[in-house]
Subunit: 226 residues, 6 copies
């Protein structure tokens, strides 16, 4: 399931993130790619030792932790500290790939399984040309570009790319998220229940049927959550 999550950052947070990134130094993006992905990856990335990275990560974590749509979509259990990248000039694309399955936490405390990937846009769409996030399925390709401060969430198992940036710069934050519910189809099903139950609560209140169906939601989550 692909999900657009609008307005993840407030205007203040977005401005602060852009301010921090404006003065940052970038390195070659291949450092965080898997063996294979390194071949197709050609962009820039904020290094682990960048002085701005701590504040940026905290800013993003706080924004995510208060966002109910993100929670309901991704059911996050562990999030790898967010990365920041830039597509500009000659370092301008990331070819088709599938994200690596397992990522070691930077502090070595264990692995995060990449079930869900997310891109948080930090440049406005009119600040660059190209640079679309393109996700492939059999019947063609979906291409996305959202306004700064918004996010798109998609399964890490999908084949996807960032098309070449032909003008300007595209700065974004990307994340790998281990979900409580590993299987995308099951997450979609829980999301559907969640949305429908919210609608019913507005229509009929906490009726007996709604109470029972909420119990079903929790028992499904119990059946599936890791």
């Amino acid at each position: 399931m692909l999900q657009h999550v609008p307005d993840v950052l407030t205007a203040e947070e977005l401005a602060e993130a852009r301010r921090l990134l404006a003065k940052a130094s970038w390195v070659d993006g291949r450092v965080t790619a898997g063996t294979q992905a390194a071949i197709v990856k050609n962009n820039q990335q904020l290094p682990e030792n960048a002085p701005e990275i701590r504040a940026l990560r905290q800013l993003v974590h706080m924004a995510l932790s208060r966002n109910p749509l993100f929670f309901s979509t991704a059911l996050p259990s562990r999030i790898l500290p967010p990365f920041f990248n830039r597509y500009i000039g000659d370092t301008n694309h990331y070819g088709f790939h599938v994200d690596n399955a397992m990522r070691m936490m930077p502090d070595g405390s264990g692995y995060v399984r990449a079930d869900v990937s997310a891109t948080l846009f930090l440049s406005e769409p009119d600040e660059y040309e190209g640079g679309e996030l393109m996700i492939e399925d059999t019947f063609g390709r979906h291409a996305f570009k959202f306004k700064a401060g918004s996010m798109v969430v998609y399964p890490s198992s999908s084949v996807h790319q960032v098309t070449p940036v032909t003008k300007g710069a595209r700065v974004a934050c990307f994340m790998f998220i281990q979900s409580m519910v590993r299987d995308a189809e099951k997450r979609r099903l829980l999301y559907d229940m969640d949305i429908s139950l919210a609608q019913l609560r507005q229509t009929v209140g906490e009726s007996e049927a709604v109470v029972h169906l909420t119990g079903v939601y929790h028992n499904l989550l119990r059946l599936w959550a890791e």
Copy 2:
């Protein structure tokens, strides 16, 4: 999940079943028990070659196939041809046991996995003393006796017995059912959804939320059904 299914047989069907069984000849019930169950089983059973058995089975099958509560509870995919037994005189009980998991169809066409067991009562409660179906769990025991023509459905994995008949005769039909949904907890969850959605349809009609939740029901069934 234990489920009482009232009035499975019509008055006419019940009378017809009792008429057929009144003239039948019974044999030792150990023939259909597993190795271990044979030790605790002491009752009478209608033999496979009894002239009445074909009509009796057809009667029961037709009654089950029109019963929505039975369907929603058991989600039957294959039913072993029903057996008929009698507890009377010295052949008066069936001690604690777990039903065997796999049963060969009488025609050798394959196995039925016993997920769900069912007892269809054919004697009225006041026609015998004792003869309760007793199902055990950690906090004690549930004992059941229902009026003739009614049924009780329970997981084949439970530990259960028929207590000694101390007076009169207890005639019943028992069945082993392979369910589309093997796991009792998942069947209960689908049953809860089914009942709650029926309530909502009466309250709010086919609203968008109800349509979506019905889709969730079918997608869960698709996920689990064998």
Copy 3:
């Protein structure tokens, strides 16, 4: 996974199918819809007792059984006898729905779980207006219309509709297929392996690595097939 399967029918088969359907009598399509789907279904369908239905079904079955792309995509284990429907005049659409999970075989011999749905187009795209098969996901909707004799295969769990036919008539055959591999994600993965191994066989022949990976394909199928 959505899959376009071109040229399922030969020109002769297509002509024969159209000839048979041209003289057929149609009935209300709600007869094969589930409780809920009946509300949104408004089309015509060939009745089970139509004299042409047997020849039509045999023709479709033979076409499917020789099609390797269909096999590799759907990994069919049981196919419900195909239905034929027509959208025309006032009976011109089938609103958004999820296909029912379990379908009884017409001969009562058991259930088919609808894992995969398929539409075989029998009218040419220029014979009608509207009548697109529209499949929904979060980021919007895919709409399809293929030339006569071609097929589209998609997961039965998806939300889909046939948009109103505003001019002409749209005749098609639709099918519910139980797959050896229930889960759409796993089917996609096996399909990817199958295609990649075929490419490798052309490049490097039956090398040791290709032989081992073919063994992996079969051991995955063994792990997942029902």
Copy 4:
């Protein structure tokens, strides 16, 4: 599976727990309920910042960690720090509900999946009227009240309530436990093996069959434990 675990606390521990709770200040119990449960929850609870809570929690943890019956029943892998509540006066009940599936640890270090719930009674049964823990299944309701220092363990997926306390006060400790073995049916099966193997060890010692069956127990646990 419901399990009564007697004498979890020693007389000294019980006295100490009651002494600590006697001087504590209570707050509204809705703080730890899920959105829905908050509607039916009407009791008092020890707040996270209560000065007594640390000593109480340690006392309970130590009692649990030495109890083999609790271990064998619940196979605990993570335990949410225990809560303490009181039903008294107007705040006297907690209506039917299913426990929420996922609970964040108070220190934010991750989620505990509530597979198993447990109530440790801290008031003697004759100190209050009503206040039964009532667990529902299709054939009716089980109601429990145990002596102070004893515990009852039950699946968090069950529908349960605490009936109104009509006289006196009911003080108890309740816990949410993530089990190594998520599925209640599998936990019951392992529990059955464990008990039966203990019996066999007393009868026949470490015979070859007992050694093999113990290996089976561990290989089942390996197959299921998370």
Copy 5:
């Protein structure tokens, strides 16, 4: 799990099978191999239309259906009609391969998933040289040759071969079996329980512990059987 099943055929059955095969005509063995296996398969096989094949198959089926060790090891649910092959002269080996996962029944009635493969030896070991069934694992290779009338059962997922027959002729029957329990590890676990419970029954009889553990066996089978 590899399992030797001795004396599957009686002396009379073996003589009858050899008599029928002595007069049979053989064809190229590649007809029943998968695409890939055909490359490494070089032996002879009894064709489907051989006049002797029906009697031979019935003979083997009857022998299997009365063999408790075969049943407990393989837990067979569907058996593809047995094939008969001969390694002789220039058609003398079948190189390393993994058996195909899905096999269509000769009558087209559906697929058999090859979980378990079995070879029933029909030549005595001293009638040929070479011709060993060799099964590979990481630490080397097991090679087997059994006396006529005996069988070896092994997982179809293993990599195996028949080494070249350098003298004489090796005639054997081979089978693909779909098991009630797909996973080899789970079959081994059930087999261990079965054997251990048989030992305990001889030592301590139907004690309470043995009765409970037999219930556990059936509940595990119920959990896993398809």
Copy 6:
């Protein structure tokens, strides 16, 4: 799958480990055995409070963390701190057993599920007689002895023993490893893919088929990793 991992330690590391162990004091090995294993375990072990244990564990951890064959075979997610044992004199064997499933971390921070066991040999084969690691399957037993600094990795569910040391001393390090992929058959399949893809990369480079199959590897890992 059994896997020999040669040269895990460098010559320097091996010398350092032997130097540390030469001066260590040993205790009875039963302290780390399960209830049952204690009966068959008769060897010596380095105690938790041995002054050398910290340096030894760090040395082994570093050696493992740089070994790609170990990683690909075991896919380790958590490793219980390694133990060190000695078979000498009267404390010279460890009879047949299955390893316990769940082990508490020494610091109480949670359980490690023993999916994979490993023995790292620290004595040279000619320093002792007997002392073979013997792993059992139905068709007999595999016995191993490797040169110092080498390791053997095997499923913890297998039945295995260390045969009596009849001369000299056998010093080794043993480990319990929780794998990302619990099931041995699935680990073997991923290992096969990994090896075959490495071969293909050398032959045909990062062709489209190789890129897709690498995506399949990661999506399988995502499907299975815990």
